[in-house]
């Protein structure tokens, strides 16, 4: 902020000019940047994870290197079944999440629709709830004896098993992760060159055909980026199946085996390796799908596609769809809100009474949690977008040896269960002391921020990559042929054009880091250093603390929602600056 100048010229300039200089990778140092990032990934991801995963390749009897454990994995019917269940749940979650995200993204980017910013922000909120809190709230609303089913039973004598077994996992996961698709798809739709659409219309295409043949294919990078994230995330996610007590999936199997007291079964680690490998394969598949297609558009046509005004009938339909979807995806938050104001809520459609006491209890104990969360998630997300932009640029625009490796390595973090990363960090960093502070690095609060940074880097990276894919190389070549240096080109052309994607990445990383629990629960070494999700976890471990935990959950949602809306406003303002036609 201190770097911000106040000259009139700067006020009109794009976001990149207002960024401090060090945010922009030095062109002459692209190789250096690549090397530094590689070192960081090796030190903060590869080494700690390897420390844990090596067990998968050891003979449990002798400690000798072996692949026998992997043979065992495929011979075990429970694991084969778990693998299939995980695959099925992930694929179905992508389908359901698409059904939720596509209408929201399409309606808000393509039509004049009041409250678009609000909907985009609201649509993002499901992501910012710790999975265990989401599951608690969803049980209260959709569970076997939740609000909906109790009302159905009383009035119609039926009940619907929304939350039973794999169905429950698919429902919770789709509601939780669809924002990945929404946010990436919306960014892509906004970036589509209006002239493409106009050309198609001139040639007589319209309606669904226009959408199917022109608009959606052009938005593919964003959609695939989002869908791949959802798929991998659901495939690796632990919290939701565990909280719904679904055990026959891969991630819970790994977790249950790693964290059981006293059991040293290598299969948990074998499953972790398989999760990582499968996630990398899925990403590779999504890259293959995108290969050989050019999605870049030359002109940034004044903020994307033409927006149409809806006819009255369409308007009713559009509002109906949007309100219904928002109601479903925000139901966990409604449940949480009721819980936070409720007294006792037991086997009833609504709480028995309402009170503010939960907020009082929460506030007395949680100020530190909130401050810590903003600090950790802020550090993590800032580093994520810097590194994410750098990696995206190196991968797409340079020929540096091993650049794909950077991408795969950073993305592999998605596949590392948080508890594995946490144990790995303890194992790797506990013996290293922080200079001046005379305590182990593993119990210094900075390590929590770094763990969050590594865990959320893939989100920022996907968003930045999708954004960069839509920036035509011709624009850079033009700038360079006009005499701009590489550095100046990146600073003045590439990054401004990527702003939307970068901000999307920041918001995703920040919001999800703010509610992360699985890695941090291993790393928190003092309650003064604990983040918010840990605080909610503490509250929720006692019968009397549920309301206070819910109140803290609401605070988490509000904190992150403010961040989200603020960045949406920045995106919109930036877009207006661009479309006012000054610099670009």
């Amino acid at each position: 902020m201190s770097q911000q100048t106040t000259t009139p010229a700067a006020v009109r300039a794009g976001l990149a000019d207002r960024l401090p200089v060090w945010l922009v990778p030095r062109v002459s140092g692209l190789h250096v940047a690549a090397l530094l990032i590689a070192l960081m990934l090796v030190g903060l991801l590869l080494v700690p994870v390897a420390q844990v995963m090596i067990v998968a390749f050891q003979d449990p009897a002798t400690g000798a290197a072996t692949l026998q454990n992997f043979v065992d994995f495929f011979r075990t019917s429970l694991f084969r079944e778990s693998f299939w269940n995980s695959f099925y749940v992930s694929a179905m979650s992508v389908v359901v999440a698409t059904a939720i995200a596509l209408p929201l993204a399409y309606i808000t980017t393509r039509f004049h629709f009041s409250g678009s910013i609000l909907i985009q922000s609201l649509g993002f909120i499901p992501l910012i709830m710790p999975p265990f809190v989401g599951a608690v709230a969803m049980q209260l609303i959709f569970g076997r004896n939740g609000t909906v089913n109790l009302l159905l039973k009383d009035n119609f004598g039926i009940s619907i098993p929304f939350m039973d077994g794999l169905n429950g996992v698919i429902l919770v996961q789709s509601i939780h992760y669809f924002p990945f698709i929404l946010i990436n798809l919306s960014a892509s739709l906004r970036n589509i060159d209006r002239s493409m659409e106009e050309a198609a219309q001139n040639l007589g295409s319209h309606g669904m055909r226009l959408f199917r043949r022109i608009v959606f294919p052009l938005a593919m990078p964003g959609y695939i980026a989002g869908a791949a994230l959802v798929f991998i995330k659901v495939f690796d996610d632990l919290g939701t199946p565990l909280l719904l007590n679904v055990n026959n999936m891969l991630a819970p199997q790994a977790f249950l085996r790693i964290s059981s007291i006293g059991i040293s079964d290598p299969m948990g680690y074998v499953i972790s390796v398989i999760l990582v490998v499968f996630s990398i394969l899925s990403l590779w598949a999504s890259f293959l799908f995108m290969r050989g297609k050019d999605y870049a558009t030359v002109q940034k046509g004044g903020g994307g596609m033409a927006r149409r005004t809806l006819k009255p009938g369409e308007k009713v339909l559009a509002y109906g769809v949007v309100i219904f979807i928002l109601l479903v995806v925000l139901s966990p938050h409604l449940g949480l809100l009721l819980l936070s104001f409720g007294t006792i809520w037991s086997f009833a459609p609504l709480p028995d009474g309402y009170t503010l006491a939960n907020y009082v209890t929460m506030w007395e104990n949680s100020k530190t949690f909130i401050m810590n969360t903003v600090l950790y998630a802020g550090i993590a997300a800032t580093l994520d977008v810097i590194i994410g932009t750098a990696i995206a640029y190196i991968v797409i625009r340079t020929r540096i040896f091993g650049r794909k490796g950077l991408d795969y390595l950073a993305t592999a973090a998605l596949a590392v269960p948080g508890v594995v990363l946490g144990i790995g960090y303890l194992r790797t960093f506990h013996s290293i002391d922080v200079p001046l502070l005379d305590k182990p690095l593993a119990s210094w609060w900075v390590i929590i921020a770094l763990a969050l940074m590594i865990r959320r880097l893939p989100y920022a990276l996907r968003a930045c990559t999708a954004a960069l894919q839509q920036v035509s190389l011709a624009l850079e070549e033009a700038a360079e042929s006009l005499g701009a240096t590489k550095r100046r080109t990146i600073q003045k052309v590439v990054i401004p054009l990527m702003t939307g994607g970068i901000l999307a990445g920041f918001v995703t990383s920040f919001a999800t880091a703010a509610v992360e629990l699985s890695a941090t629960i291993m790393l928190v070494s003092s309650n003064n250093d604990a983040p918010l999700a840990y605080g909610i976890y503490l509250f929720m471990q006692t019968p009397s603390g549920r309301g206070a935990g819910a109140a803290l959950g609401i605070v988490a949602v509000i904190v992150v929602a403010i961040g989200t809306i603020a960045s949406q406003i920045i995106i919109e303002r930036d877009k207006k600056l661009k479309s006012s036609g000054d610099v670009h």
């Binding site: 401050m371 309650n527 006692t542």
Partner: protein, 440 residues
């Protein structure tokens, strides 16, 4: 941010002045804030020169944490329910043997010895397993509360029961083991599988069970007593009862080896065993059984007193040796036969229950034989008691070797796969038989 910097600076200052550092006692605990809070407040009031730093972790995560930081230990105390977590730490050499001065503390609670005979950890409160139920749920479903374990196996409770898995929760492990010791290996497992046939779910955390009963997600739960008492004290429409076959077990506390503040740790443990320290356990949010019999004079009316009421937890002579010898085998068997195959088991038991219902009307002898055969398939165990106590077999699950060239024949994954095919096939056959019997 400021607070973090401040705490970092404070840590620096503390490190520079050892006299002040002696006051901080770092405690790793699985107990919730609502329990540690009042105890911390009472302790710090009684010993103003000491500062308790509470670090909350799940029992399993706490054990892992202490193992991982052992090289440069920063924790003073491990404080949790499950005696077996302490056994694991003790066997790994992570605990220190210390002398604790206390008065009026008996040797045993129920039939369970209170303290580790080698002085590595100490009981500070008692707890017993029992059945908790949601009154609104039972009323809506026209059910009576179950009072004994065997009640939970009745067909009326099909789909209404919840429990945690012994591999997830040390205290749940004790319940499972108690019934195995009380009823015998075969009878005990048969009982568990018939109860599990009525399960709505097997929860991942031990707190998941009281939570499920409190919200009314399922009607009855197998829980440790203080979850029942404290849920009730918080206002939920729930209640709790001890069955006849149950064991009272101590919740424990121990000093971590190479503790930075061992003297402070001992002070805290000694305080916990004083009458004042014990009285805090009766706080409505805690509700654990004090181990100092004198403290019960201050207990609210209706609060159980195991030192006077001989029926609580006296039936089973809990054998710690037996429990320890097959600890991991019991966990693994429960997961393979129940947790991971709950759907198959529930279907099979449900089918047999309806066949029983049909038989009650028809009285068909052939159907009876098929039903008995189906029950026998459910009851069958992949290993017998002798094998469960065979140390060589148990070594497959612990993988602890004194020498690098020690060899173990089978791997855990192989054994579990064998068990899995065994139970899946049995449950399938039992379902078929029951369906045939029901049609007769």
């Amino acid at each position: 941010m400021r607070r973090n910097i401040l705490s970092s600076v404070a840590a620096l200052a503390l490190a520079a002045s050892p006299a002040m550092a002696a006051g901080t006692i770092t405690v790793i605990t699985s107990f919730p804030d609502s329990m540690t809070g009042p105890i911390e407040a009472a302790f710090e009031a009684a010993h103003p020169d000491h500062d308790l730093e509470i670090l909350n972790k799940k029992t399993s995560a706490g054990v892992k944490y202490i193992q991982e930081i052992a090289g440069d230990n920063t924790a003073d105390i491990f404080w949790a329910s499950a005696p077996d977590a302490f056994e694991v730490l003790k066997n790994d050499g992570m605990l220190a043997a210390v002398d604790i001065a206390s008065e009026g503390i008996p040797e045993k609670i129920g039939a369970y010895p209170l303290n580790d005979p080698d002085g590595y950890y100490f009981g500070f409160a008692g707890a017993g397993y029992g059945i908790m139920w949601n009154e609104r749920y039972l009323k809506a479903n026209d059910l009576e509360p179950a009072r004994e374990w065997s009640d939970l196996a009745k067909p009326v409770y099909h789909g209404h029961v919840g429990m945690s898995a012994p591999s997830r929760s040390g205290t749940t492990h004790l319940t499972v083991e108690t019934l195995l010791q009380g009823d015998g290996w075969d009878q005990g497992w048969a009982q568990w599988k018939r109860i599990a046939g009525n399960f709505s779910t097997v929860t991942e955390r031990s707190f998941g069970v009281p939570d499920g009963v409190n919200t009314g997600n399922f009607g009855l739960g197998i829980v440790i007593d203080f979850f029942g008492f404290s849920s009730r004290a918080s206002g939920f429409p729930v209640d709790f009862a001890y069955p006849t076959v149950t064991a009272l077990v101590p919740a424990n506390i121990g000093v971590v080896k190479n503790a930075p503040n061992e003297a402070g740790a001992v002070t805290f443990i000694e305080y916990l065993l004083t009458p004042e320290g014990q009285a805090v356990l009766l706080d409505p949010a805690i509700m654990r059984l004090p181990i100092n019999p004198a403290t019960y004079a201050m207990a609210p009316e209706g609060f159980p007193n195991p030192f006077e009421d001989a029926t609580i937890g006296a039936t089973v002579e809990f054998d710690v040796e037996t429990s320890g010898a097959r600890y991991n085998i019991v966990n693994s068997m429960f997961d393979v036969m129940i947790t991971y195959r709950l759907d198959d088991l529930r279907t099979a038991v449900g089918a047999i229950q309806s066949a029983e219902g049909a038989y009650a009307k028809s009285g068909n002898a052939e159907a009876r034989a098929m039903i008995d055969e189906a029950w026998a398939l459910i009851d069958a165990n992949p290993i017998d008691e002798a094998q469960s106590l065979d140390p060589e077999f148990a070594a497959i699950f612990t993988k602890k070797r004194t020498k690098a060239d020690d060899e173990v024949g089978e791997r855990q994954a192989e054994v579990e796969q064998k068990w899995d095919s065994f139970v899946v096939e049995n449950y399938r056959k039992a379902t078929e038989l029951a369906q045939q019997a029901a049609g007769m």
